[in-house]
Each structure stands twice: as structure tokens, then as C-alpha cells.
């Protein structure tokens, strides 16, 4: 550092003021560590894209006053899952018995989390891109940004899904397109009253609505609708490896923005935002296969990896969990770092506790438990046949002019139409269910 009055070393340097970085920074600053968070965006949150559902319990372990203080938009009281096929839509609607998750924009939430870390004593430097994690003799000793180096006893890598630093460091390989998905999203200003009236919600009640079917044009993935206070987040998630194959073979008709547009103007869904306008459009990469995305090691001498960079995201098709996993990994990293310092410092051996704690935690267990469904998510049977069969059957049951088929007849007929045998389908589903 060029200026003598400014420290050239911190106890902890956190790269990235996202949920994982800020929770680690908050807990470490509270424990008395000198913590610096370096964030590339203009303030925390400006590069975040997730307007969705966040599970509260893991966050409450870090911020017990979460419910009162955090920028929560609505508590999810209704979950919907829709199968969309050629103009037909079949929807499962579940009214929750209790409130476990809330909706919010991660831009706001990440800012709140970073503010908490700063209140606890961490220093946040924004508008600064970290270019490299620097090592010396196999030990991480700090970071470099442009010509500036800054040293730390330990670096917490919370750089997010595009793990450029980890790749440079050799801790992660180049991202495999089959392990990531592209999320695109629009924010639509529907208005508080209209959201509540049109989606049968009362004040503060929210909805998480996932869609699957031909809206992704055969690409594994799906659509989502989340209700915020007075806006709606509408988007698509697309498996990148399969989307690339589809584009290459010519099977993909539309550009990605066109696919989202088709969902926005879909005659069934668009009635929800019929008189509204799009306020913002964004895109972000997300993790498709959590465990496959995970680097071989989540720690080394002087370094721990948390959040998306560590592959800690679960996408089951009916639910996406990333923010709470990130926060929880930040918490475990902070606890492991505190322990490591009590035991002589952040050596590789002492930091292995982090990975151990993570593997014992619900985060890793969830990722292992649901690895089957993650595989299934890549199966076109699931994405094209299931919505087609469900809607085919419903059509036969309810669109008959004179003679209605029995449920079994309708089911068998819709299987025949999709050239799929019921037994094969059931076997497939069974093999998947057994892995769930």
C-alpha cells in the first residue's frame, strides 16, 4: 500500500459482499477480528440478481433480529407449481400451514447484510475488483487489485458463481457448462393491490410459483414468478449445457430474451401483469448441479471458500436454495476461522474444520440427498414429457364434448400420444423418487 497511515494488512479479507461474504464478515467482526470486505459493485447488492424465496431459519442463526430488521417483502404462504403445455396449464396450489420463507430482492437483502457487517466493525471497500488471490509457498497471504496488494491472515473467497479467482488459484477448474444454469429475470410493477387481488393474497402474504413445460422449449429448466411488495419477479432458468446443444443443433428457435418475452406475453400468465410495465431486466448465472460444481477442496492454508463459489446451491426444480446456504456457509466459515485462531492460526489443518463442519451441516446433507433430482432435472423426459402428459390427461378429462374418459383411460391415452409407455415412465419416476 502506498499510504503509510492505512493498514496494509487485515486479519481477514473477504472477497465479495454477497450473503456468504457478509455473514462471515459480520460474525468475524463481531468476534473482534479486523475484517475488510472488498466488493466490485457500487455498494453491496448492485451486482446481485435473485428476486425470490429465501429460507429464514438459517439466516436467523446469524441475525436473530432478521424478521424485524431485514428488508422482507412477503412471507411465502402459497406455493404453486404449473405444468405448461401448448396453451394448457395445470397448476398445483399449496397453501402453507406455517411461514418458513420470505420473498425479497437480493439487491436489498445483500445491502442490509453488508450494513450489518459494517455496523459490527468490518470495513467495506466497494468499487474495487479483486484480480488475484496471492500466495507464498503454498499459503494464501492476501489479495491483489490492480497494482495494490493487501495482506491478510486469511482470505474468505465469496466471489460468487463466476469463480475467476479460484480458477486462477488452481483450486477450481474451468466451469463445466452442464453444471450451471442461466437465469434471466424481469421486474414488473404490478402494484400491491393488484398482486394481492389477482393472486388471492392478503397483506404481507407472498407466492412462489414455479413453471415447467414448453416455456423453456425443451431445455431443462423452468420459469418462476415471485411476488414482492408491489412488484413481481418473472423469469426463466435454463440449463446452459443443454441450451448450447439446442442452439447448436438448431432446435432452439428463439433467443433467450425472446423466450422470456414469450412467457411474459403468455395469454394465461400475462393477465397478472396485464396493465403493468417492466422496470428492470437482468441476468445471472446459477448453479445447476451443486455437488458437481463444488471445488475439490473448500479450504487451503489461509483460505476458505463460501457461498456460490463453493457450489452451495440446490435447484430441485420445485425449489431453489442458495441464499440461506450461502449465509450458513459464511457462518460455518467464521466459526471455523475463530477456532483455527484459538488453535494456532489459519493453517490448512486447522481450516479443514470448515469443510468438516459444512459436511455435517444441513447444507451438505441437502445437496447429497437431492443429488438424484438434480440429475433428473437434466432428463428431457422430465421437462417435456411430464408437462405434456399431465396437460394431455387433463385435456381429455375436461375437454370432452360428449363422452368423458375414465381417469385411467385419459392417462393411458395421453401417454400414447407422447409415445411413452406408462411402465417405463413409472420406472423412471420410481428410480428418481427412490433417490430423493
Amino acid at each position: 500500500m502506498s499510504n503509510s497511515n492505512v493498514p496494509s494488512k487485515f486479519d481477514v479479507v473477504v472477497v465479495g459482499a454477497g450473503p456468504a461474504g457478509s455473514s462471515a464478515a459480520y460474525l468475524l467482526a463481531k468476534a473482534g477480528f479486523k475484517v475488510l470486505i472488498v466488493e466490485r459493485g457500487r455498494g453491496a447488492g448492485t451486482k446481485e440478481l435473485y428476486g425470490g424465496k429465501i429460507y429464514a431459519p438459517p439466516l436467523r442463526e446469524v441475525w436473530p433480529n432478521l424478521d424485524k430488521e431485514a428488508p422482507i417483502h412477503r412471507w411465502v404462504t402459497t406455493e404453486r407449481l404449473s405444468f405448461v403445455w401448448k396453451g394448457r396449464v395445470t397448476t398445483l396450489d399449496f397453501k402453507l400451514g406455517r411461514r418458513v420463507a420470505f420473498t425479497t430482492y437480493l439487491t436489498e437483502m445483500a445491502k442490509w447484510m453488508a450494513d450489518k457487517a459494517v455496523e459490527a466493525g468490518a470495513v467495506l471497500v466497494d468499487e474495487v475488483r479483486v484480480d488475484e488471490i496471492i500466495t507464498e509457498g503454498g499459503k494464501v497471504i492476501g489479495i491483489r487489485s490492480g497494482p495494490d496488494k493487501l495482506y491478510a491472515d486469511i482470505v474468505v473467497d465469496a466471489e460468487g458463481v463466476n469463480r475467476i479467482l479460484l480458477e486462477k488459484l488452481g483450486l477450481a477448474e474451468k466451469i463445466n457448462p452442464d453444471t450451471v444454469a442461466l437465469g434471466v429475470k424481469e421486474v414488473i410493477n404490478v402494484g400491491k393491490k393488484a398482486i394481492e387481488e389477482r393472486l388471492l393474497l392478503t397483506e404481507n402474504e407472498g407466492m412462489a410459483w414455479l413453471l415447467m413445460g414448453d416455456i423453456t422449449q425443451g431445455i431443462p429448466g423452468g420459469g418462476f414468478i415471485y411476488t414482492m411488495k408491489d412488484t413481481i419477479a418473472l423469469g426463466l432458468v435454463l440449463h446452459i449445457g443443454k441450451a448450447y446443444e439446442a442452439a447448436k443443433s438448431g432446435a432452439l428457435k428463439d433467443t433467450v430474451p425472446m423466450m422470456l418475452e414469450k412467457l411474459r406475453v403468455h395469454p394465461y400468465f400475462s393477465r397478472i401483469w396485464r396493465d403493468a410495465d417492466v422496470l428492470e431486466y437482468g441476468a445471472h448465472m446459477t448453479i445447476e448441479g451443486g455437488l458437481r460444481y463444488m471445488p475439490k477442496k473448500l479450504y487451503m492454508n489461509g483460505l476458505v471458500v463460501v457461498g456460490d463459489a463453493a457450489g452451495l446451491l440446490l435447484n430441485t426444480g420445485y425449489t431453489i436454495r442458495g441464499v440461506d446456504f450461502a449465509v450458513y456457509s459464511g457462518k460455518l466459515a467464521a466459526e471455523a476461522i475463530i477456532k483455527a485462531f484459538e488453535n494456532g492460526g489459519p493453517t490448512e489443518e486447522n481450516l479443514s474444520l470448515y469443510e468438516h463442519m459444512l459436511k455435517q451441516s444441513f447444507v451438505y446433507k441437502e445437496l447429497v440427498k437431492h443429488s438424484g433430482i438434480v440429475k433428473m432435472m437434466e432428463d428431457p423426459t422430465f421437462f417435456t414429457k411430464l408437462p405434456a402428459i399431465v396437460n394431455g390427461m387433463m385435456g381429455k378429462l375436461f375437454e370432452a364434448d360428449y363422452e368423458e374418459p375414465t381417469v385411467l383411460e385419459a392417462l393411458l391415452e395421453s401417454f400414447r400420444e407422447e409415445e411413452m409407455s406408462l411402465t417405463r415412465f413409472l420406472l423412471k419416476m420410481f428410480s428418481v423418487v427412490s433417490r430423493l
Binding site: R40, E127, R274, D275
Partner: protein, 96 residues
């Protein structure tokens, strides 16, 4: 009801990107080094339609970039220089 129904109206990608805030850097943060290492499929897949074919050439304009990293994942490291913008510039999400 009278008048146009906005929710049903298609929006051109240029107009859509106008709704997102950028502080565009003078210096591009992404650059095609060798076209052979950058797939043409990005014309369809890039969420901000930053890639386009002009004749046989694949062109990239960084101004509307949403910094998702898709093109980095699909390109060869020698084909594309991909960095985040400096000094807090680039896309400035307000909601999402």
C-alpha cells in the same frame, strides 16, 4: 378496459435494456480475442443480445452486458478476455 395492454406487448431488447441501469466504462471489460474460440450460438444465448453476426463475423458490444458470465463458460479461455468492469461500473441492479 380500453387502451393497450402493456403486459401483453412485446418489448424490443434494446428497449428492455434501457430499463436496466448501467454506468458504462469507457474501456470494454469483455473482448473477443479469437473468434474461433467463441461459439456463434451466443447470438441466441446471450441474455442481453450483446453478440451479433455481421456477415461472417461475430461481433460483441459490451455496453449492454449483464455480467452473467455465460459467454465465458461457453468460450475457450484463449478466445475471450472476460473480466468484471472496474471502478463499480457496468450494470447497476436496483431490484432484481
Amino acid at each position: 378496459m380500453s387502451g393497450e395492454v402493456k403486459g401483453l406487448r412485446p418489448i424490443k431488447i434494446e428497449d428492455l435494456l434501457q430499463r436496466t441501469v448501467y454506468d458504462v466504462d469507457e474501456e470494454p471489460h469483455i473482448e473477443i480475442i479469437d473468434e474461433r474460440g467463441v461459439p456463434k450460438e451466443l447470438v441466441k444465448l446471450c441474455p442481453c443480445s450483446c453478440y451479433s453476426m455481421v456477415g461472417e463475423r461475430l461481433l460483441y458490444s459490451y455496453e449492454g452486458c449483464l455480467e452473467c458470465g455465460l459467454c465465458r463458460v461457453l468460450s475457450e479461455p484463449w478466445g475471450l478476455r472476460w473480466e468484471y468492469p472496474k471502478s463499480g461500473r457496468g450494470v447497476q441492479y436496483r431490484f432484481t
